[in-house]
Subunit: 140 residues, 2 copies
DNA sequence: ACAATTGCTGCAACATTGTTGCGTTTATTT
DNA sequence: AAATAAACGCAACAATGTTGCAGCAATTGT
C-alpha cells in the first residue's frame, strides 16, 4: 500500500522532469496518502526517522512540487500553509473547509465556483480562494 | 472632514460601552477613512507623531474593536490580517478582492454568497471566507 | 572513467507577524 | 480621596517562513 504510493510519487516526479530525490518522493507520497491538506509541521512529523529533512529543504521541496503542479497549497487564517496532492478532482479550482475547533482542512471538490458576479471596472480576475469554516464531523 | 470621522468614531465606541481612549478613536477613524482593508503596519504608519502607540497596544485595540463589531478583519495569503471599518454594507458576510501585484484589499459588498452547496454529512457550517484574486485597476 | 556542471541539501542567520506576562499608568467608581 | 478596573508600554517569546552560502550528489559531456 505504501509502496504503491511511493511508486506513484516517483513516477509523477520523474514525469515532471526533475530529480526524483528520496525527500521529494517521500513528501509527495505522504501528501498522496493524506485525505486532508496538512501543514509543513505535520509533514515533518510524518517523515520516518531514517529520512529526516531539514526544515528549509522541506519548504523548498514543497515549493518545487507546487511549481510542478503536483500539489497545491491552501491559505488559512492561522498563518500556516497547508499542502495537498493534486488528484484528478483537484486539477480545477475548488473550495476548502476548515474546522474551527481542530483546524483540519479538507477539500470540497464538489463546490461549484462559477462566477456569476463581476468585479469593479478595470479589475482583472485571476483566481478565487474560498474557505468554508465550521465544525467537522468529529468536532460537532 | 477628519473631525467628522473622529466624532463618528468616538460615538461608535462610546455606544459600544467601552472606554473611548484617544488610541481607539484614532484607529477607528483611520479605518473609517480608508476604502481598503489595511494592515496593522499600515495603520501604524497613519498614526500621527503626536499619538504613537505601542505595537501591542495597537494589536489589542484592533482585537477589541473586532470584538465590539466595529471593524472586521480579513485573512490574506501574506500572513497579515487586514482591518476595515464595518459600514452598513458590511454588516453581512461579504467577499474580498486582493490584487496580486500591489496587495491592496477591497471589499466586494455586492458579491452574493448564498449557499447553494452542501457540506459532507456531520459537518456544521459557521462562516464563509471568499477572496477573489487578480489585478486591481491601477495594476492591470 | 573522469571532469565539469548543475541542482539539491543543511546550517546559520534573519524577517515578519503576532502573543504573553507583568508592572505602571490612567480612567472610573465608590 | 481612595479603591477598583481598564488600558498601556516594555520585554520576552513564539510560529512560520526566507535568504545566503558552502558542501554534496547527481547528471552530463568528453
Ligand atoms: Mn484542495
Ligand atoms: Mn470587508
Ligand atoms: Zn474538527
Ligand atoms: Zn494592484
Amino acid at each position: 500500500m505504501f509502496n504503491k504510493l511511493h511508486r506513484t510519487a516517483e513516477e509523477l516526479i520523474q514525469h515532471s522532469g526533475g530529480r526524483a530525490t528520496a525527500g521529494r518522493i517521500r513528501i509527495l507520497s505522504i501528501l498522496l496518502a493524506e485525505q486532508q491538506a496538512i501543514t509543513h509541521r505535520e509533514i515533518e512529523q510524518r517523515l520516518p526517522q531514517t529520512l529526516q529533512l531539514d526544515r528549509v529543504t522541506l519548504y523548498r521541496a514543497l515549493e518545487w512540487l507546487v511549481g510542478k503542479n503536483l500539489i497545491h497549497k491552501v491559505t488559512s487564517d492561522d498563518r500556516a500553509w497547508r499542502y495537498h496532492a493534486n488528484r484528478e478532482l483537484h486539477s480545477h479550482q475548488h473550495a476548502h473547509f476548515k474546522c474551527t475547533r481542530c483546524a483540519q482542512v479538507i477539500c470540497l471538490s464538489d463546490l461549484s465556483m462559477e462566477r456569476s458576479w463581476h468585479l469593479p471596472i478595470g479589475y482583472q480576475f485571476q483566481e478565487i480562494e474560498l474557505t468554508v469554516k465550521g465544525l467537522c464531523a468529529d468536532c460537532s
